[in-house]
């Protein structure tokens, strides 16, 4: 610090800061902004690196948040109170069967709203005509189904209607979405017939995809009475779909096995399909982490690009640095100027990246017809990450600029 020697008491004290080199932060910002403005192309190209990295990360976060929101909305819509009951395998590896009393027993449980079953129809295949060889089933299974199956599953019809008390006695069939596609039947007009286990069945309905029971999409459903009559199907459910009261799902779940098969409750498998959807949402999060790591690598490369550009800039601007030192800038002023310049550059890159990421998320959401979600933290994190990267990237170039001897700097230019 410079301190004036004692003066005569009568002389007014000169303000101490008269001798100090000073510049306000605002002016330093303006100087840094000017430094960027005077090299627009280079500044934009080096900010682009950061923009791409941050844009990728925002897009990844935004798209995954959007699909997750969509998935959660789906789960919400379909309900998490669906439980499935199926025969498991016995101790010796043989398939167990559920007793025919299982469905009525389950329906009697207090907290159960609905229960409906499907029954495997063995020995029957579905073909478009009798001329299609019997082996070419197209992977379509045949099940007998209770008439209230869609209401339990939360499924709806793409066309026609489901089996009813009026049709389940007759050779009528309802196709799952995948089965209809395989058989190339676009709509249930009431005139289309399929060749099912040696008998012509009329297609009365086609289901939309069943999100909570996707394995039923490749199934043709016929009524249990007609199945018993034509194919000798046993009244032993292969799967029972149960809707429980939302607040008692856990209780119902633990009681389902002994209710369905009081003799061998261990041979009953109970599961909750919404669990697998939630697991899918969680799995997406892990994938997101991987993509985020890739974005971070892009960001690192962008940061190195900025450091590189700043080093070149310092070398090129030795004359300017020398002049500023001659005008009274301290080393610290020079260092701050370049540090701010670098941070400003990367922050602008971060903001541009945020914009890219939001646009990418928007386009994806519109294309997927799902809600658009960009997490709030991304709005703050994107420019903040740019700022941090720029500050770190600028450390070395700024220190280099501050270390330059002013005379050498002036001579070089």
């Amino acid at each position: 610090m410079s301190v004036a020697l004692p003066r005569p008491a009568s002389a007014p004290e000169e303000p101490r800061d008269r001798d100090v080199a000073r510049i306000s932060l605002r002016e330093l910002l303006a100087v840094a902004a000017l430094g960027l403005r005077s090299r627009r192309l280079r500044a934009s190209l080096s900010a682009l690196g950061i923009a791409i990295g941050i844009g990728a990360m925002v897009a990844v976060v935004g798209i995954s948040a959007s699909s997750q929101a969509d998935l959660l909305a789906t789960i919400d819509r379909l309900g998490t109170n669906l439980l499935t009951v199926a025969p498991g395998q016995s101790f010796l590896g043989q398939s167990e069967t559920l007793p025919s009393t299982a469905v009525p027993m389950i329906k009697h449980m207090g907290a159960v709203q609905k229960a409906s079953a499907v029954y495997t129809v063995s020995g029957a295949t579905v073909r478009r005509t009798a001329y299609v060889p019997a082996e070419q089933t197209g992977g379509i299974g045949v099940d007998a189904a209770d008439t209230n199956l869609p209401t339990s599953l939360g499924g709806d019809m793409a066309s026609g209607h489901f089996l009813s008390a009026a049709t389940e006695d007759y050779p009528t069939v309802v196709l799952g979405a995948g089965a209809a596609q395989t058989l190339q039947i676009p709509a249930a007009t009431g005139h289309i017939q399929v060749f099912l286990g040696g008998t012509w069945f009329t297609v009365v309905g086609i289901l939309n995809p069943l999100i909570l029971a996707p394995d039923l999409d490749h199934t043709a459903f016929i009524g249990l009475p007609v199945a018993e009559r034509l194919f000798n199907t046993q009244n032993s459910p292969s799967t029972i779909f149960v809707r429980a009261n939302v607040d008692q799902v856990q209780n119902v779940s633990s009681l389902l096995a002994p209710t369905a098969d009081p003799q061998t409750p261990d041979g009953v498998q109970v599961s909750r399909p919404s669990d697998s959807l939630e697991a899918r949402a969680a799995a997406k999060t892990q994938f997101t982490t991987l993509l985020l790591a890739l974005g971070a690598v892009a960001l690192l490369v962008g940061g190195i690009g900025i450091a590189n550009i700043m080093v070149i800039s310092v070398l090129e601007r030795r004359g300017e640095i020398g002049l500023r030192r001659a005008l009274g800038a301290t080393r610290r002023h020079i260092r701050s100027q370049f540090l701010i310049e670098s941070a400003l550059l990367a922050t602008l890159g971060g903001l541009a990246g945020l914009l890219f990421g939001v646009i990418a998320t928007f386009i994806y959401s519109v294309a997927q017809n799902q809600p658009m979600v960009v997490p709030l933290y991304a709005l703050i994190a994107a420019p903040a990450a740019g700022l941090a990267i720029g500050a770190v990237a600028g450390l070395y170039p700024a220190a280099k600029a501050a270390r330059l001897s002013p005379t050498e700097a002036l001579r070089a230019a």
């Binding site: 301190v3 001798d19 100090v20 080199a21 500023r324 005008l327 800038a329 080393r331």
Partner: protein, 232 residues
């Protein structure tokens, strides 16, 4: 805390047996002593390599001597910290360079305003002062022109305006006419003398004896030593 300010005197610049040795054993100055009084106008003349530029940078506190005493505007420039020296440059010294050192992206007005950038004066006040300074060097009609749109003589006038905007007590000029034709050069010299006549100390280095002619005091240098110190 030791004081780096010496008692006010009539001496604006003082070198006491100053030696400057560069890496590799090259001596730019070999024991130079001079006193330059307040308001004095001094030309330092010598061939290139005589150490005159080094002397100017030491007088301008841009560089420190290897040994010897340096006092600038009452400050001990050897003992002072870098920050204090920056303060001295910001408030007391105006530099004029041969290469102008103007910033191409800025208007003449903004270039001149940077002359006070590190004094802590607000941007608005600096621009006001810059306008005045440009008018003073006869460029009141060129405020919004960029350096590229100005002639060499005009550019050096802008640089001079940048040096004088803060009303420095010392003006140091390094070959200010070196890049100019003789007519513009004469105009620039006249301007510098005019400023000094208002009270500033002027130190100018040149290799051109014709330029030195106009100065009341001429110091001649050769091989890092003062070989003549004439006053008219």
């Amino acid at each position: 805390m030791s004081s780096t300010r010496v008692a006010d005197s009539d001496v604006a610049l003082r070198l006491g047996d100053v030696v400057k040795e560069y890496a590799g054993g090259v001596f730019a100055l070999r024991g130079v002593s001079i006193d330059i009084g307040r308001g004095e106008q001094v030309a330092v003349v010598g061939p290139s390599g005589s150490g005159k530029t080094t002397m100017l940078t030491i007088l301008g506190t841009l560089e420190r001597p290897t040994s010897g005493e340096v006092f600038v505007a009452g400050h001990d420039a050897v003992k002072a910290t870098d920050r204090e020296l920056a303060g001295v440059r910001a408030h007391e010294i105006g530099f004029v360079f041969q290469g102008f050192h103007l910033q191409e992206v800025m208007t003449a007005l903004d270039n001149v305003a940077t002359g006070m950038l590190y004094t802590g004066v607000s941007a608005h006040e600096r621009r006001e002062a810059a306008r005045e300074a440009l008018e003073r060097v006869g460029l009141g009609h060129r405020l919004t022109h960029r350096p590229g749109e100005l002639s060499g003589g005009e550019r050096q006038r802008v640089a001079i305006a940048r040096a004088l905007i803060k009303r420095p007590s010392i003006v140091l000029a390094d070959e200010p006419t070196g890049n100019l034709d003789s007519k513009s050069g004469a105009g620039v010299l006249e301007l510098l003398h005019g400023l000094a006549d208002e009270g500033a100390t002027l130190g100018l280095i040149t290799h051109d004896p014709g330029v030195a002619e106009s100065f009341p005091r001429r110091i001649q240098m050769r091989d890092g030593e003062i070989v003549a110190d004439e006053r008219r």
